[in-house]
Symmetry: C2
Subunit: 135 residues, 2 copies
């Protein structure tokens, strides 16, 4: 099956790449709708599917109810805040030797770029710490 170039597909990729966050399908739908008011939510879902299958974008299954999507396909990680749900990027530079260690320890398996850690985002981490001091 050949992939056609459609306006919808192009706008979806374009808007996703512009976003710094990791939107759900319906969040991206709201953004895309500003440029294509007639687009349907199903079209957004369908395109996020084919685009992630072809590797143009990332589909993030990070334990939330909804899938999230990421226009940045470079190797990086995610920290999902279990307090507020925010998804922060963790770039390879933040990881020290961790990547090298992982590669050697899991040699033979293919370790993919989209790995999620569960914890607290910076904002919630500081609030949690503050609350702990109060009690």
């Amino acid at each position: 099956m050949k992939l056609s170039k459609t306006v919808q597909r192009k706008v979806i990729v374009d808007e996703l790449r512009k976003l710094k966050c990791h939107p759900t399908a319906d969040e991206l739908y709201e953004v895309v709708r500003r440029r294509l008011p007639r687009i349907s939510l199903g079209t957004v879902y369908r395109n996020l599917d084919v685009l992630s299958a072809s590797g143009e974008i990332l589909r993030l299954g990070i334990g939330k109810k909804q899938m999230c999507f990421d226009g940045d396909t470079s190797r990086h990680y995610h920290l999902v805040c279990r307090c507020c749900g925010a998804v922060d990027d963790i770039m390879p530079g933040d990881m020290g030797n961790v990547e090298k260690e992982l590669d050697s320890k899991l040699a033979g398996r293919i370790l993919e770029a989209s790995v999620s850690f569960s914890g607290y985002c910076e904002k919630c981490a500081s609030r949690v710490k503050r609350d702990a001091q109060l009690s």
Copy 2:
């Protein structure tokens, strides 16, 4: 709200701990049903909720359509096979200095025990390798 001790709750925890795999709610329901034929799926869901909220079990959001659950709450990781969907355990001993590195790199954030890696399980990894040689 106080947690009552019910037969259903006890059997659910018991059967989950006995399983080496990481079942979905309905998979565990089928197992539990052999001991409690009258139990309902909703009861399984409800108890998996309160049990994971209280930390007695783990709820794994590992990018699959359904949530998975783990009776082993000790610190360990998961490798989700993107070929067959299998969920393998990766124990701390398999991780070398990775944990120490992560702790120092993400200091101040609380890094939780249930972290999932995406890649191939051993079986699928060897088949992928074999297929690659053939082509």
